[in-house]
């Protein structure tokens, strides 16, 4: 066997050589890293109602796989105004009342709709990745359009929950609904 496979080893070697020889694509960052950084900024541009239960931390709940969890670990403990961000990885779809922010990376359509139904009108900022996240009842949707992230904001959903999103952010977003 080794003799026959041996014939193809040069191919593999060639591949490895090419690796160092060719340049990577121009200035680009990994998607999850950018999403985490954007999410941090969105929190910074959001004001919660004064009666929202909030102490020293803004509890940021994440629904996602290990890749998402790893990326969001990078924004854990970052300052947001006078408070600090606290990342909570939700392994079960419960106890949403412990969250100020809910970040949904990927969830089956039928379950996502029920999550929205369950947290409706609570002062809970919802951020998600699918292209129609905001259209379906989420507040901020992050969509990858040809390699760049586009922001979608559902103002109605944010207002219903008494959350205020800064005009500076809204200027950069596509607004859904009125």
């Amino acid at each position: 066997m080794s003799k026959r496979v041996g014939k193809y080893l040069p191919l593999l070697g060639l591949g490895l050589l090419f690796n160092t020889g060719l340049p990577t694509l121009a200035q680009s960052l990994e998607e999850q890293t950018v999403l985490a950084a954007l999410a941090l900024n969105i929190v910074r541009f959001t004001t919660w109602p004064s009666d929202a239960p909030m102490k020293d931390t803004i509890d940021f709940c994440v629904i996602g796989d290990n890749v998402i969890q790893q990326s969001f670990a990078g924004i854990d403990h970052k300052p947001v105004g006078t408070k600090t961000l606290h990342i909570i990885n939700l392994s079960r779809l419960r106890n949403f009342e412990d969250c100020h922010v809910l970040y949904v990376s990927e969830l089956k359509q039928n379950i996502l709709l029920q999550v929205f139904a369950e947290i409706k009108k609570r002062p809970l900022l919802t951020v998600g990745e699918s292209y129609d996240f905001a259209a379906q009842g989420g507040m901020v949707g992050l969509e990858n359009v040809d390699g760049k992230i586009t922001l979608h904001v559902n103002l109605t959903a944010a207002h219903e929950s008494n959350l205020n999103i800064s005009a500076r952010l809204l200027k950069l977003a596509k607004i859904i609904g009125n």
Partner: protein, 679 residues
Amino acid sequence: MKNNNKKTAISCYLFVVILLFSPWVSCEEQNEALNLSVEDLLNVEVTSVAKKAQSLNDAPAAAFVISNEDIKRSGATSIPDALRLAPGLDVAKIDSNKWAVSSRGFNGRFANKLLVLIDGRNAYTRSFSGVYWENQDVMMEDIDRIEVIRGPGAALWGANAVNGVINIITKHSAETQGGSLNVGGGTKEQDFGSFRYGAKLSENTTARAYVKGFNRSDNTHLSGDKAGDDWDKVQGGFRMDAQISARDALTTQGDIYQTHVNQSSYYPQLTPPFQFTGKDTNSASGGNVLSRLQHTFSPTSDYSLQFYYDTYSRDEGPYHDSRDTLDLDFQHRFALLDRHEIIWGLGYRFGHDQIVGNVFPNGSSIFTINPVSVNDQLYGGFIQDELTLIDNKLWLTLGSKFEHNDYSGFEGQPSARVMWAPHNQHRLWAGISRAVRTPSRVEQDFNLLSFVTPPQALSSPPFGTPPVAVTVQGNPDYRSEQVITYETGYRTTLTKTVSLDVTGFYNDYSDLRYPLPGAPSFNGSSVIQPLIFTNQLQGKTYGVEIATIWQMLDWWRWDANYSWLHTQFDNSIGNPQTGVSPKQRVSLRGALSPRRDVDLDFWLRYVDTNFTVGTFGNASVKGYVTFDLRVAWRPYAGIELALVGQNLAAQKHLEYIQENQTLPTAIDRGMYGKISWSF
């Protein structure tokens, strides 16, 4: 020694290159991203290519996912050929229209320990406990993913998920809106075409319909003659998804197909010359319709109710097999207390078959079955509890299926699994399961003339030995085969661009099928030597499966799989008369996209010696190395031109020898071109 040096050098080089792409890079990226303003973050180019190398699946099982992109870039044109992408699966092409597909050994045309589901519909037939792969097809472009679970899946999916479950899942119709036209042709893939159109029927309803067809040309016998195994197929189907309310979704889908299958066959007969070869022209047709209602109570609770009807009619040279299946399944998932996620379900299946032995044009027949038609039922339930012992760290899954079938009665199939995530880059899991493979119709009821030894003249004429006919006989007392499986696995993302998945398993089989010689009889002209199916064989298999992904560059990914399998039978009762799958399999794939509009792919495969048993006697099919190449170019948005070369290493190579009837057929080198237009 020299070889060893070479190996060391390669692994060193690999190690150095991996280091170059290690997490330091991503730490830097993270800081860079956090220093950017929102405006800059929305303007920066983002890459998500390495995502596949980073995602660890959270199932405590040996699972592997073949994506739509993987299938496209592999150049595979059929489901079984796409399955070669997964580790641990043994896929061998018998001829142009037949495959032997199994997981963790025991391969054969009628391999019986692998359960196959297409969008929740069971493709495994009770007739011989296996899958007619030539009957199973979907529009390849509309496959969302193929989930391959090696090892027992019986606690959830039920009997016959002994060594694996394959879930072929097509896309939701909302994701296949618009048109897709694919046409092409070549040497082996003579001509093919498919067309799908998806549309929005109303505010909450999307649908698609498709039609496809192909002609595949014949391969070559080892002697160099044409094998006459060409075939054609036409298939059409639809899928409709409706969101009836915020809580209810309804999916309805169906397919219908017709195929003509040719083959050169070899059959025994009781009269001189005691064997004949024939050119069979067979046909098969079938269809199915499935409907599934899903109701979601809350994020942690939903149920689904599924119904399907499946029918097929298949002519083989020696017999005709037709079957109608009605199936009803209910599943409910809910959270209990704070730490339990329970799934339970109930199922009922009704089957009606008609299996008839055919008479060949020369008047002989080799297959009889009694009774020719049977109605059978299957009912059962399952319950599984996924218990979170430590949040985000440790899970225990306990479950069992309990079912009753008309062939072997009650079967209990429990499973216990544990998964530990010491860190979000690492997963360790282990499990113990019991599964059964229930008897097929033929194993209990058929009689097959397997081969005839011609009469031998003795030295003093007119005396001589009469012809000896060996017949394989079903046994109404034939029971289920069973296995106890011990598995353990480790998955990690070594760095952001490298992932590794290693599984080890040990399978302890009992009551395996063994054809026991019965008392010979003399019918006046021939001696009949029956071989009667019994459950007397015991065996063990153990092995290791490794799957790695390395996203070397944004535009260059490597996928490498290695499987090692050891099969051992209890030989005390005699020759086990069971095929043994290759000990080693290697698959190495490189996917390059040097430009946004160009893809280059190569796929190298090594398959070790395959041991087959059958009417040609026991045979070792030599191991082989082969490779495929694919080049694709997208000159305009929505248009792709692709050129694919398959099995390029040799003009022809033999992958498998079928248990009976099909003459050993070598698979030819092939080339095809394809144009795809999405609009």
